[in-house]
């Protein structure tokens, strides 16, 4: 995918520039000092129950749990699409592989169930034990799909991945003896944690409803923990040799190859890492809804994931999380709402039309702001973080106190 030099994808100056320059000038401990309370605030959102933010028609905790899952997916897809520039339209396939791995190993309907008598999974720890297996298997499936197809050009890759996503769904639908076909697999394992007399199945069980601290909130917190781990991992990759190779491939694959970047190898890395993160979120999903059916893994979902990445700003990790939030939160925000700021609206039908509005938003965004809401800025990657921070600090100081120019 070659970028046309006359197409300026990056804005000259944005709204968040001063904040970004200040943030980049801070040292790591300072960033944590400011970051941790912010993360805590975000984590406590479903409990604080802010009247403007909360959803009327559905449980806010549940919405936030879904957001956590989508954020994880968006981060994974961002590695593939945003950082390495490979358009993947079948990401839902990896998501499905992750979900089905957990379901096949833990659902009583599955022939490979390992939780019952004679199985090697204890029912309390089954979900957690399945996480690494799910990640491993999706990574393998990414490797399997990637190794023959990543030699293709961008457009072909998009359509082949789309086909892969459909194949996974159709396999789940057709292999009835194993996956239960259209009936799906039910009673998938989930973390048995915090079992009390009130909740004999633990706080993560679907039975934990009605209270402020419902199962949705617990799943949301779990996904935040996973997101932070994945973000640290992906962030470190981004600053490493691998990340620099990805940027080079994204900007100009031929040039990267000529400069000695083994493009195929690094594309395969991006694909595999992206896939394994997708598998992780699939496993999260399987545990949360405890029920896996093929219809949940339609191609439309792939497009919705891509929408989150593009909307937020491909390449920017925080941007894609924002994108995921918008994708999940906005339709739920309108659900059941009859007025907004005193203006009467038909919230239910707005929520119903969500694909129409997402499609429209994509088209308008591509014309006026193709880089997304929070675009990525190219950082000085070559000399490591210290030099980058030093350069930014100087830039920030100069911007704060402009030097008087005297004749």
């Amino acid at each position: 995918m070659t970028n046309n030099p006359s197409f300026d994808a990056r804005p000259k100056a944005g709204v968040g520039d001063s904040f970004r320059s200040w943030w980049n000038a801070q040292s790591r401990p300072m960033q944590w000092l400011f970051g941790v309370p912010f993360i805590l605030l975000i984590a406590l959102l479903p409990i604080l129950n802010v009247p403007v933010l909360t959803t009327v028609g559905t449980n806010f905790g549940g919405v936030m749990a879904q957001f956590g899952m989508y954020a994880l997916i968006a981060i994974g897809l961002n590695v593939v699409v945003g950082q390495a520039g490979l358009l993947d339209l079948g990401y839902v396939g990896f998501y499905a592989v992750g979900a089905y791995t957990v379901a096949l190993l833990t659902s009583p309907n599955s022939p490979w169930n390992q939780t019952g008598p004679g199985g090697w999974l204890s029912s309390d720890w089954a979900w957690l034990a399945c996480l690494p297996i799910a990640i491993l298997i999706t990574a393998l499936s990414g490797l399997l799909l990637g190794s023959p197809t990543l030699r293709l050009r961008g457009d072909y890759l998009a359509i082949v991945t789309l086909g892969f996503g459909e194949i996974v769904r159709l396999l789940a639908d057709n292999l009835e003896e194993i996956t239960g076909g259209g009936r799906g697999l039910s009673q998938v394992a989930y973390p048995r944690f915090g079992t009390t007399e009130e909740f004999p199945l633990g706080v993560f069980s679907a039975g934990n409803v009605g209270k402020t601290l419902n199962s949705g909130v617990w799943w949301y917190w779990l996904s935040i923990v996973l997101i932070i781990i994945v973000l640290l991992f992906v962030g470190n990759l981004e600053r490493s040799r691998v990340g620099r190779a990805w940027v080079a491939i994204r900007e100009d694959e031929d040039a990267a190859e000529i400069m000695g970047v083994p493009t195929f190898k690094f594309k395969l890395w991006a694909f595999t890492i992206g896939a394994s993160i997708g598998g992780l979120s699939g496993a999260l999903y399987a545990g949360q809804v405890q029920f896996v059916v093929p219809t949940n893994f339609n191609v439309v979902n792939s497009v919705l994931f891509l929408c989150a990445v593009v909307l937020g700003g491909q390449g920017n990790k925080l941007g894609v999380i924002l994108g995921a939030f918008i994708i999940v939160y906005l339709p739920n925000f309108f659900l059941g709402r009859t007025e907004i700021l005193g203006i009467p609206i038909d919230g239910d039908s707005i929520a119903e039309y969500k694909y129409f509005f997402f499609g429209l938003a994509l088209m308008v965004l591509m014309i006026f702001r193709p880089q997304g809401l929070l675009p990525v800025r190219q950082k000085l990657l070559t000399y490591g973080r210290e030099l980058f921070v030093a350069a930014r600090r100087r830039q920030h100081d100069e911007a704060a106190a402009p030097v008087e120019v005297t004749k």
């Binding site: 358009l87 004679g118 023959p148 086909g163 497009v303 088209m363 193709p370």
Partner: protein, 347 residues
């Protein structure tokens, strides 16, 4: 390996999920071939739209499947305007009148699809071309447009037409032609619908091929596909060529829409174009995207192979066969069967 792992992984004795019904394939071979060719010619007509646009703009027009879907609604609306009530029962108007009505419906479908394709180009792609956007941006816009068109038919069209068109459910079919066997060929029954589809597709394919390869406009299309800059210097209007390619693609999709509704009367639904569009794109890639004759050939091959696969493995595996075929072809011949250049299609 011992213990529970070995026990559970190796003692699974479920029935084989895939059947290899070679016998049925052998018995039905010619029937499947004839039906597959009919289905494949629909793919071929839709695939031309993908391949021409790709040849000229290097863009996967993801929304082309929705252009096809609009064509289905277009011909349906024309038939309703002609006074046919949607009842699901077949009409019997006599051979001549049926052909005339089908012709009018086809023109209606072509007009709607062609208009929609040109409108899409003007509204969605032209602003991007002016900004010189990279191909990923085009593709995402196309995906967005696909959503918008689908949801337009899903939610907005019913309110515009008083519930007559669009909505969640498929349209009650208006059936002008009831399938009747005409003659047998190698033991395969050929119905009137198969005949109509194959004859119309051949006429349209030959006409398109002549247009692209023999006329002045066609030379312009090939010139822009080969080298846009030089073509512009030689006095070819690139914008006009682009509109023309979208128009041809749309018109053929509209024609394919009518043929498809003859074959699948219950297929007129807002989501009805999506999978067919993906497969038509597969057909275009199979034959070599950007190559007109490749798209036609790819459509026929895909239609026939899919039909064989459906009998060999079971009905649910039909789509899997199509996608696996696509991946295999791309692995071993990344530019498709006939190669990918529209410019060099005619030496």
């Amino acid at each position: 390996m011992t213990g529970p792992l070995a026990q559970t992984f190796f003692s699974v004795s479920a029935a084989p999920p895939i059947n290899f019904n070679v016998e049925a394939l052998g018995n039905l071979f010619w029937q499947l071939t004839v039906d597959g060719l009919a289905y494949g010619s629909i793919y071929a007509l839709v695939a031309v739209g993908y391949t021409l646009v790709y040849g000229v703009l290097r863009l996967i027009n993801f929304a082309h499947s929705e252009i096809f879907m609009l064509g289905m609604f277009g011909q349906y609306a024309v038939l309703m305007l002609l006074g046919f009530a949607p009842s699901g029962n077949a009409y019997n108007e006599g051979t001549v009148m049926t052909i005339i009505y089908l012709g009018i419906a086809m023109i209606g479908g072509m007009a709607v699809s062609g208009g929609a394709a040109v409108g899409l180009e003007r509204l969605a792609y032209r602003p991007l071309r002016k900004r010189n956007a990279p191909s990923l941006v085009f593709l995402i816009t196309a995906i967005g447009a696909s959503f918008v068109l689908q949801e337009f038919v899903h939610y907005i069209l019913p309110t515009l037409t008083g519930g007559e068109l669009g909505g969640v459910n498929a349209q009650v079919p208006i059936r002008l032609v009831a399938p009747e066997p005409q003659f047998t060929l190698f033991g395969a029954t050929v119905t009137n619908i198969t005949l109509i589809i194959i004859i119309s597709a051949i006429v349209l394919a030959v006409a398109t091929d002549m247009f692209v390869n023999r006329t002045k406009f066609g030379r312009g299309i090939r010139a822009v596909a080969q080298d846009p800059t030089t073509a512009t210097l030689m006095g070819v209007s690139r914008e006009r060529v682009i509109i023309l390619t979208f128009l041809i693609g749309g018109i053929l999709a509209g024609a394919a829409a009518l043929l498809y509704t003859l074959r699948v009367p219950n297929g007129i639904i807002y989501s009805g174009g999506f999978i067919l569009g993906i497969k038509a794109f597969c057909a275009a890639v199979l034959g070599g995207i950007g190559n007109l004759r490749g798209a036609l050939l790819g459509g026929l091959i895909l239609g026939v192979m899919e039909n064989y696969g459906q009998v060999l493995f079971g009905t649910g595996w039909r789509d899997v066969v199509a996608f696996v075929l696509l991946i295999l072809i791309l692995m071993f011949r990344p530019t498709g069967i006939l190669g990918e250049s529209l410019g060099r299609a005619r030496v």
